[in-house]
């Protein structure tokens, strides 16, 4: 029943992160304030429209010009309410926007995950730790290419399997069976036409068999079968995947114009700009499939920068991570990329007039900056130094000549790997 009411309210996306509770309760509070004042103002207005409608042309109205007490009351009460709104909004926002606050949400193992997000016209690249770039294709594009969460466009609409898995107890009833029969007769699924027809036709015999089989299951087995059907007819590697219950930090940038990465179900969003890193983080609390969107006009396919994000149990996430194909050898890739850097950065520390600091002994050292402060040369520092070289300039190199390098997150990782032991390839563990 509560579920139904929540669905009827249809004002919120699913609440799938630790932020959702806070944001939604603030949202609800504001809604109650709005309802109160709306009813008060419009209610009074309608009441007066009836009670004080003009009944004769010689009516005389009283000369009530003002009332100071009333002015004070209806100024002070709203002020108090908005101060509260401001406060709760600010507290939550501060937490969301603070890249370090993620530490507060980690479990006893202290783990959190750093993902790298690259916005570009017109898709998002997600890079997972220790892996190659995973291109997350937008939902509409994906459907055009036939590579979507649901391979068969209409299938999910006809068979709301996820909902039935939640709602049903025995799992099987006549209505559902009838639905399956409907699907089996659906020409748009079983007689595909157009560009992707061949690609889709490959799987049709299997789909038919599985759907027929689905009608024979019941109880828990039914639920399992539905889940495996779902898994079988989707292409997971096109989803952005995050684990349940481990905080995730997104380090984001753009390759070109301003984009904005948002996950409505997590209540997070932030703009991404070229040559800058913006950070948001979240901890997912409910497994499932959610959307992410681009929320800043970026060109003709801005509306297609919408994709799927799935939250999976932790072990499944790690399995997924492992399954992503990485480069054959990150160190070798880094060495190849170094060739472009070698014009200004040497590896042997010799002072032969090169324009940039040497990489000898660089990794992990503490470096003196031009403004007198120091910084540890870690992953974050290197990343910033590549994307925004003049953000922190090394002492002695104030005339920052290094232009920003638009490398992808994966490329930056390779360079770091190389930089960690530039003169000698590390032993394989």
């Amino acid at each position: 029943m509560a579920n139904m009411i929540h669905r009827l309210a249809f004002t919120y996306p699913p609440d799938a992160s630790t932020f959702a509770k806070d944001t939604d309760s603030t949202f609800t509070f504001i809604t109650w304030v709005c309802i109160f004042f709306f009813v008060l103002i419009v209610g009074l207005m309608f009441y007066y429209m009836v009670k004080y409608r003009r009944r004769s042309e010689d009516e005389v109205t009283p000369h009530i010009s003002h009332n100071l007490a009333l002015e004070v009351v209806w100024s002070v009460v709203p002020i108090i309410l908005v101060i509260y709104m401001f406060y709760v909004g600010y507290k939550a926002y501060d937490k969301m926007m603070d890249p370090i606050a993620i530490i507060e949400e980690v479990g006893p193992d202290g783990k959190y995950i750093d993902l790298y997000v690259n916005g570009k016209q017109w898709s998002w690249d997600i890079t997972y730790p220790n892996s190659e770039v995973v291109n997350s294709i937008s939902s509409l594009r994906a459907m055009e290419n036939g590579k979507t969460g649901w391979k068969f466009k209409r299938l999910k609409e006809r068979l709301p399997l996820l909902d039935l898995v939640d709602a049903s107890e025995n799992g099987l009833n006549d209505a559902f069976k009838a639905k399956v029969d409907e699907v089996l007769k659906d020409k748009s699924i079983f007689s595909p036409e157009g560009e992707n027809a061949d690609f889709l036709k490959e799987d049709l015999p299997g789909l038919k068999k599985d759907l027929e089989a689905l009608k024979t299951y019941s109880g828990d087995e039914f639920k399992l079968e539905v889940k495996s059907l779902y898994k079988k007819y989707s292409t997971f590697s096109d989803y952005m995947t995050v684990p349940l219950g481990i905080p995730v930090r997104l380090n984001m940038t753009s390759n070109d114009v301003i984009h904005s990465f948002a996950v409505p179900a997590f209540r997070v969003k932030k703009d991404v700009i070229m040559n800058r890193t913006s950070v948001i983080w979240f901890k997912a609390t409910k497994p499932g499939l959610y959307i992410y969107t681009c929320n800043e006009m970026c060109g003709v396919d801005h509306g297609h920068m919408i994709g799927y994000l799935r939250v999976v149990p932790q072990d499944e996430y790690y399995k997924f991570e492992k399954s992503l194909v990485g480069p054959k050898d990150p160190w070798e890739e880094g060495k190849k990329l170094y060739a472009a850097c070698s014009a200004c950065h040497n590896l042997d520390g010799a002072n032969d007039g090169k324009s940039g600091p040497t990489w000898k002994g660089l990794w992990g050292s503490t470096r003196e900056l031009s403004d007198g402060t120091t910084a540890v040369v870690d992953e974050e520092y290197i990343r910033e130094s590549i994307l925004q070289p003049n953000a922190k300039k090394a002492k002695g190199y104030e005339n920052g000549v290094m232009p920003p390098q638009p490398l992808t997150s994966a490329q930056i990782k390779y360079i770091i790997k190389f930089m960690q032991s530039p003169n000698q390839k590390p032993e394989k563990k």
Binding site: N390, V401, P403
Partner: protein, 225 residues
């Protein structure tokens, strides 16, 4: 300072007497309104340049070394000469208003002309400055504008701001000259006398603002070494 006094006798052999516009009740109301209007317009000009000053402050705080280096390409002596020229032109302008108030048609015209000539002098100095830079390739699209890969980065931002600020200012000097020339013609025809000199005063106000803006530009751009 006396304002319009409609009891003043106008010497019709020299001056063209003017009636108050029909929608104003008195000459005073008209003059006050025109002055207020001019001040408001000057306010908009301050905000227009204000945007550029903000850009200056922002980028200078991010790239202080660029500012110092960029200023080396500016000749502060030429800037100082221009400052002197403009301040003198403001003086001649103020004196021109004074002479109009004193019914001195000849003096008004001469002083206005002096203002225009000084303004032209400002432009001549600017011409040499810009010319020198163009010769060195420091202009948008020129070789030395971007300075990428040389010993400084982002120097083009310095020059972009330099050109925008001084360029917009030069445009306003030109608009000012046009206005002063127009007012000079009218003064020669005897339009302005002690009871009516509002256009001269308003053009003067505008010119003082143009001068004032330069007085800010000069140290901010030329004296930052």
């Amino acid at each position: 300072m006396s304002t319009h006094d409609s009891n003043i006798e106008v010497d019709k052999s020299q001056f063209l007497e003017r009636n108050v516009s029909h929608h104003f009740e008195t000459a005073d109301q008209e003059m006050d309104s025109c002055k207020l209007g001019m001040w408001l317009f000057l306010l908009t000009e301050i905000l227009l340049f204000g945007g550029l000053f903000v850009a200056y402050v922002v980028f200078r705080s991010w790239h202080p070394e660029t500012w110092e280096a960029g200023a080396e390409h500016l000749d502060w002596k030429m800037g100082a000469v221009n400052t002197g020229i403009l301040i003198t032109s403001s003086l001649t302008m103020a004196l021109a208003i004074r002479q109009a108030q004193l019914n001195d048609k000849k003096g008004t015209v001469l002083l206005l002309l002096a203002t225009v000539i000084l303004a032209a002098g400002f432009l001549v100095v600017k011409y040499f400055e810009y010319g020198h830079k163009f010769h060195m390739g420091i202009f948008p699209g020129g070789e030395n504008y971007m300075f990428a890969g040389r010993h400084l980065s982002n120097e083009h931002i310095y020059f972009s701001i330099y050109y925008m600020m001084t360029g917009l200012h030069v445009l306003h000097v030109i608009f000012g000259m046009m206005a002063i020339i127009w007012v000079t013609f009218r003064a020669a025809k005897g339009h302005f006398y002690s009871a009516y000199y509002t256009p001269v005063e308003n053009v003067g106000l505008y010119w003082h603002l143009v001068d004032l803006i330069w007085i800010f530009l000069f140290p901010l751009l030329y004296l930052t070494k």
